[in-house]
Amino acid sequence: MALQDADALFQHKIDNEIKIEPKDFMPEAYRKTNIRQISQHAHSEIVGMLPEANWISRAPSLKRKAILLAKVQDEAGHGLYLYSAAETLGTSRDEMINDLHIGKAKYSSIFNYPSLTWADMGVIGWLVDGAAILNQVALCRTSYGPYARALVRICKEESFHQRQGFDSLLVLSKGTPAQKEMCQDAINRWWWPSLMMFGPKDSESTNNDQSIKWKIKRKTNDELRQSFVDMAAEQVKVLGMVLPDEKLKWNSQKNQYDFGEINWVEFWNVVKGNGPCNKQRLAARVKAHEDGAWVREAAIAFAEKRKMKREILKEPAI
């Protein structure tokens, strides 16, 4: 089959909502874009464990400690499925992790903000997971089969996390004055970074057009961001708290909320590595990897020894 035909067949499948599978033909750029996106998602799950793990030892009740531990463990699980999904495209987990550690691969910038109080655990669940879900629900219909299937499972767990996050904020919002203050403060700190999770404006995003055509992406950054604002602006009322945006206002003509401008200087700085925790997060991942090197080496050496032993035992006696 001529390459041209293969390309046409590929686009035909995409147009007809037929999933692309690992052994199918795919343009190199499609493969690369998917590896970039899936590995970036995997790295976000793993780095995203850090700001939440920061509060495990200090969770305020045994129940909250168990919920938080289970949640962070789920993130590790998501990282696993995603690395596996990316591996079907011909890369390896080691390669992807190395790219993260040398700064070549990115992860979601939101995790470069610090988790300063217990209320941050609730707000991360509500806003950060909430923003991630909007992105990911749209992606459950993404054209690459293994990624789409991993996302279906991830979305179910993330929705659960978001409810748990909101529930823990609801408790704070009905609590003591100090708890209410803690809740509002955490919303203030995480609101704008959450909006930044949807990426640059459509007019400035370089990956949008081709990704939409290939159905790797199903909705644009601005579309998703608007849905998020509309959702959060209503939910915050249930908490009796406010979003820190004076320009936030219902627009009855457009049937959606108007909202203020993101601080794009901050956005690009955090992307470039100048956020409050960029260095700390990456250093923690690199340290875990380096400290674990002897463990991984020992596991390989042991497996080889056992394999050799089994082979010797299989040899017929002379």
């Binding site: 793990a53 305020p60 875990a288 674990g292 090197a293 002897w294 596991a299 042991f302």
Partner: protein
Amino acid sequence: MQQVNSANNQTDLIELDSGKVPLWEGFREAFILHLADNALILAQRNSEWCGHGPVLEQDIAITNISLDLLGQARNLYQYAALLINKEPHNLSASSLHSGGKEVTEDSLSFLRTEREFKNCLLVEQPNGNWGYTILRQYLFSVYQFLLYGQLQYSEDENLAAIAVKSLKEVTYHVRWSSEWVIRLGDGTAESHKKMVQALEEVWSFTGELFLPEPYENEAITGFDLVALQHSWLQQITNVLKEATLFSSALNEKVFMQSGGKKGLHTEHMGYILAELQFMQRAYPDAEW
């Protein structure tokens, strides 16, 4: 154990504010709190690995064990709270007496002081490297396996039910940690060396596991703790041999550290509680 036997005959009575109470009455609660504290403090230690494990699959595994232990601790604290609330005077000399409130799993874990915690020293030791954590887990899991193996037949139905549930989890912990002890002991020269060192460091904290406090008397627990030591030693010797870590020096008299079960801890304990209890201390009387 004369004291306990005579207490069993309800002859020894001590005067408390609330009236005459037999001395042994608080022992059951103390025993349950001791089991709960062991599980909680090891859960707390293991959870420090979350997000920092040597490989993703094992990060998940150690977090899972942490969650299991936390679940055991919660069951035990809830049961202890039930008993204490029925007979509040049984928690003698406790910082929880103030206010006359009912105790809960949270007040038992977040509002007792360092000297009131009854966990053994082994579980409060810092994680060290992955090898030390694994070895500590293995030695403790085999102890828990034997202990819950006895407690599942307890006449105390609640305790028996907790033991049956926990035993399923601990069976897996023993399997997982023993496999890692063998893998690291018999892996590379470097991993072997690290495991030898870990064993030397951890060993002196193992004796306390089988050194019974009055609240661990057979009359309270329904089994002889000292008798478990033989099975424990046999089981771990087999694994340590397979891991090429067995040393006859282990059988020689090593001076064993003890005190945790009486509330005499190592210096690490204060820092564990400082983190664990921070929120409840900083925001008293808040619901979370």
